[in-house]
Symmetry: C2
Subunit: 342 residues, 2 copies
DNA sequence: ATGAAAGCGCTAACAA
DNA sequence: TTGTTAGCGCTTTCAT
């Protein structure tokens, strides 16, 4: 086993407190500093963060629960979040729950037992139990991408409804009327919002979209392909389609490929989320983009803020934590050549 | 703060050892079992894995260091690995070092201080220090995607050279001779291997590729685009190109898009890695695929194997760990319509 | 099967 | 500034 503080105390003839003080940036006499540094060098001492965590009741670790790591949008957020947190001395434990509610709960329990100091959650289910456990223990939770009505914690969202409405409005502006949508599962917050934006765009024009123009995908590639085929079969007169997430966009484009439908001549398309993908297509796809970096930054800020304020207000009597904050970010739009002007 | 074992010992009137025994699946009298379970329920007791880790010197946590989380190939591997490990009771701490050697070392140190039980590393640099630290402490390390000559640890690789050779051979078989490659940075193991496979394919035909057909990318989208443009400018007579990783494939396709080059009429293309992306393109791209799931599984197996054997051989005298193992996996090929038969 | 007690490596309160 | 000491919550002998 590696050397411990005790070893280096013995080696230097100093007390434990001095070593601890040195390690935590306290004041140590120059002479002793040198002795300590030598001992550390010779004994290959490295702090044991586990022991430190037990004592301080802070693991300097943040749990992240995410529906699919294997999903560019989430992966981008995680990358950035992890980076920021690590720069602040926090490790991240990431659990991929594969969009499964049960796994999500397990992950929350798992992370709680490991005593992470806070939680960043991109919720799959609606289970509040997991979150409440953290909140009760005074550990901050930040939700990303989905709001939970009853839960009292910070949230970073994007304006999904507005994004969808804008996209469909653009199709209207290009002269389209028979506009389909590949919507996501009703249980997913963002899917509902985006579908609602689609409807709103119609209402804004004093119209109501026909139900046959609304296909249900499941936010997967395969689901997107299936939904695309369904739309094409049911609606021969459809001239444009809005696809409401990235995976389904990929699937839908694959399907159009297979069907030999040419974009935008035969069908105009607006997709979602991944600029690189959109640019690699021919013609380039017009897409709605989400500010993943900004989402990550805001989430990390919110979390670190609470963490730091909590540490600062270690003084008793300051049990009040400020009320939860919800940040809603604007989406973007990247114009390609996949929309035909009628 | 949450309840501790002490609390539930007090509550039940039992000793600490009994509670511990219960929690770890030992034998406890039926009566007491019930009492304990009630107490746990009432006091909302949850084990503190940090304390357990301090005592047992096992955190049941694996560190993962990866060049880019935000990279489909790596993300797929991580997803699967994390899943397997978690099913075995191990958490994973993931550090994204953004393909930066310094960050990679920092990550290794960071994880070591947190006393992870093992390390899965997709190396960016050639630094052995980080790895040695783990090995010295008797903690298993598994390398993915890149071998390190001097280092004595398990490795999961794919046959990069063979994959590239096969891809180029296919272009030869389709009648191409003026075949370019978008190669990766020389410092990256897989890039060297793949370039070497490209050369080998030529040698196999008794030919030598002209240096002007070899463009250097940097494994990024932008680099792929740049390299593609360079190849097109330098080699008017080039009829086919092999692109040696996924990001560069995306970039190259974007560039061909911008240049208005039609595939495969004007240029045949074989890309790398992502089947979904390949299928969404029109025409569908022919690509080399890597068995990410298999890679993940083998890596997790290797690690868990050592971890378990180590635990089993807790008896002194069994300090010998078996010699390191290297697993090399075959790549696949998915045929699209991006290669023209001359 | 259960209890008492020691200790994992660290921090922090208190004394010197 | 530095040393002494008492835990943090758990596991693990060793008795019983």
């Amino acid at each position: 086993m590696g050397a411990t503080m005790k070893d280096i105390a013995k080696r230097t003839g100093l007390g434990l407190a001095t070593i601890s003080s040195y390690l935590n940036g306290g004041n140590v006499r120059e002479k002793n500093r040198i002795k300590i540094e030598e001992a550390i060098e010779e004994l290959h001492f490295e702090v044991n963060e586990v022991a430190r965590g037990l004592k301080t009741n802070r693991t300097k670790t943040i749990g992240i629960v995410i529906p699919e790591l294997n999903n560019i949008f989430f992966a981008e957020i995680i990358t950035e979040t992890e980076d920021i947190l690590r720069n602040h001395g926090y490790a991240t434990m990431i659990c991929d729950c594969r969009s499964d509610e049960k796994r999500e709960e397990e992950a929350e329990e798992f992370l709680f037992h490991r005593r992470v100091d806070g939680l960043i959650l991109m919720p799959t289910g609606n289970g509040e139990k997991g979150i409440q456990r953290f909140l009760r223990a005074g550990k901050p939770v930040v939700l990303i991408d989905r709001k939970m009505e009853q839960t009292d914690c910070d949230c970073v969202l994007v304006d999904n409804e507005g994004a969808a409405e804008e996209a469909v409005d653009r199709l209207f502006a290009a002269g389209h009327r028979k506009i389909g949508i590949i919507a996501g599962p009703d249980k997913i917050y963002t899917a509902k919002e985006r579908l609602s934006g689609y409807r709103k765009a119609f209402y804004g024009k004093g119209m109501t979209p026909g139900e046959e123009f609304i296909a249900r995908g499941d936010y997967t590639i395969a689901g997107g392909a299936r939904a695309m085929r369904e739309l094409m079969e049911k609606n021969k007169e459809m001239t444009a389609v809005f696809i409401s997430n990235y995976e389904m966009t990929v699937g839908a484009m694959m399907e159009l490929n297979d069907l030999g439908v040419s974009v935008p001549e035969e069908l105009s398309v607006i997709g979602f989320d991944n600029e690189d993908f959109a640019k690699a297509l021919r013609p380039r796809l017009s897409i709605v983009t989400q500010p993943s970096g900004e989402i990550a930054r805001r989430a990390a800020e919110l979390l670190l803020g609470r963490l730091e304020r909590e540490t600062a207000s270690k003084q008793p009597g300051n049990l009040e934590s400020e009320r939860p904050e919800t940040v809603t970010l604007k989406t973007g739009f990247v114009e390609g050549r996949s929309v035909k002007y009628l």
